[in-house]
Subunit: 333 residues, 2 copies
């Protein structure tokens, strides 16, 4: 069966039904210890194990036998969505379904078998961020896509099936719920104040300082006031900017430095926690660049989401954002 | 620090910041194997280890030395919310916080150290359901509470910290997001059709039958059309009914039979998966009984929620609801 989008008729939530995903192999450490040790498809030398690449960032030449690439982007072998085919929409009675059109790619972040993003060099992370930007810029030319989400799962408990450092990108034919809610909140605020809510929030946070973890010339990392999870942090550009992919080379380096610093703090303070991050950016072709402010949200996976959270849509967070920020501030001292 | 509600200024999502929860002991099997084996606070004989009970359902007398209770309800020793104190609301700048007022109780579902709800008898489960109903009916007299959520976490991966069978109840001074979204979806539908959307959906599902798992005189179990998770199922009363707590004794027994049957199917088909369930019912004091239809949502915990889900608010489900329903239908054959 091809993947499809289905919409819940009560809360209008889209889900992706993707039976092909059930065929994914598991390649995290625990599985590898028990299962037959397959070679890692993401390591240099095993390029034939992945679908042909859509982007290669060449390595700076060092030795003759060094890998020739620094970062590779390949289509996901077990994609949640499919790139080609007609878009059919089928409404019958209360229910609506739509072809599962979209793009699902994997960003392989290093040619060596590294398992922690925090151990990559600044230069390497800057190449990863450039690869994100390059793929978004290429994919946004296809007018079928309305939103591109870049995300990372590190560690089995955070949903990773491969341990080799990688992130993923999904292009969607619709603006997903979380992005739409942020846009709509930002729009309400903009309409009543003429300001970007993220800019105003950043100004207040910098003045108050109790939830600031770290900062450099262009970026601030903070524990959000209403954090859902212990040690949740957001990386935000200081200057208003709605679209992640439009950053300069200098900005890319500052972001790489900031992200690396932050992931090192998490590893140091919380003993290499599994985590997710994702980049929230302006929807494609939605000209509201004055009110939205791109950012990265990092969610360490330390507690289980349970019945209360699923049933209420609210969260119980046992660590105050102020305590979280303090611990993370002190982590690299 | 007392617990408090905090509201995210962008998406208006309330979270509970509850530092006391960090003090909870872990009592699931994996922890118990490594940690000192404490006696179980939920077992008969250890009643002094919990706060004094707020409800006791007496056992049917059998032998002289049998436990004298079948179900006990006690305040949660590490509550996410606090029952007493003034309700203060503090708005400063963009941020809003409010005292963490609410009720957090534990329903101990058996006096013996049983770890799987599916192994309880129908009679015992009926007593558990009656206890839910009795507590909701008692708590709704306190006009501070606007919503009561009953939920269960079974298994460490589903967020349980005690393995002894139990469920929980939280009374909130606000209608939480998930319930509010269902109410609002049901209202839009009611305004345009004059019907309950759940009733119409049930009628269509029964006609179609491909997503029906099982049914009895009063209840239907189905895999929802836009299931977020593999083997997600909903238990729904056939007759329109907005408030869970208003069921008759006959209905309680039919529900107990249905829930037990369903949990046994999950255990059989999926090898005792960790799971959550929660009851969605009409908000207290919200007189919209014509449009809402209470139900139980059961979510087995088989996959990790990861970066895509957090970043998008959408879900990738690798099992079609039709396949899930088929497997669960055949599980008890």
């Amino acid at each position: 069966m091809m993947p499809e989008f289905r919409k819940d008729p009560i809360v209008n939530r889209w889900v992706i039904i993707a039976p092909e995903r059930a065929r994914r192999p598991q390649q995290t450490r625990r599985d590898r210890a028990t299962a037959t040790l397959e070679p890692c498809a993401f390591c240099a030398g095993n390029e034939a194990m992945t679908p042909p690449e859509v982007l290669v960032c060449p390595a700076t030449p060092t030795q003759a036998d060094a890998p020739r690439w620094a970062v590779r982007v390949v289509p996901n072998k077990y994609p949640a969505l499919t790139k080609s085919g007609a878009c059919t929409i089928d409404s019958s009675g209360l229910y609506q379904r739509q072809s599962g059109l979209g793009v699902h790619e994997v960003i392989i972040e290093a040619p060596e078998h590294v398992t922690h993003t925090a151990t990559l060099s600044e230069q390497q992370l800057a190449t990863v961020i450039s690869a994100y930007r390059e793929r978004i810029s290429a994919l946004r030319l296809d007018k079928r896509w309305r939103y591109i989400l870049v995300y990372k799962n590190q560690g089995r408990e955070a949903g990773a099936t491969f341990e080799h450092v990688h992130s993923q990108l999904i292009a969607l034919p619709m603006v997903p719920r979380e992005a739409a809610e942020e846009m709509s909140g930002a729009e309400v605020y903009y309409d009543s104040t003429g300001n970007c809510i993220y800019c105003d929030m950043l100004r207040d946070e910098i003045n108050d300082s109790s939830r600031i973890v770290t900062a450099n010339d262009r970026f601030v990392v903070l524990s959000p006031f209403a954090s859902r999870f212990p040690y949740e942090t957001w990386i935000m550009p200081k200057q208003h900017s709605s679209s992640f992919e439009q950053g300069s080379t200098h900005e890319t380096f500052d972001l790489a430095r900031c992200l690396r610093d932050m992931l090192n703090r998490l590893d140091r303070a919380l003993n290499d926690p599994p985590f997710n991050y994702y980049i929230h950016s302006n929807p494609l072709a939605d000209n509201k660049s004055r009110l939205y402010h791109w950012h990265i949200e990092i969610l360490p996976k330390l507690v289980q989401v349970a019945g209360f959270e699923w049933g209420s849509g609210s969260y119980i967070n046992p660590v105050t954002p102020e305590d979280a920020a303090r611990l993370l501030r002190e982590a690299l001292r």
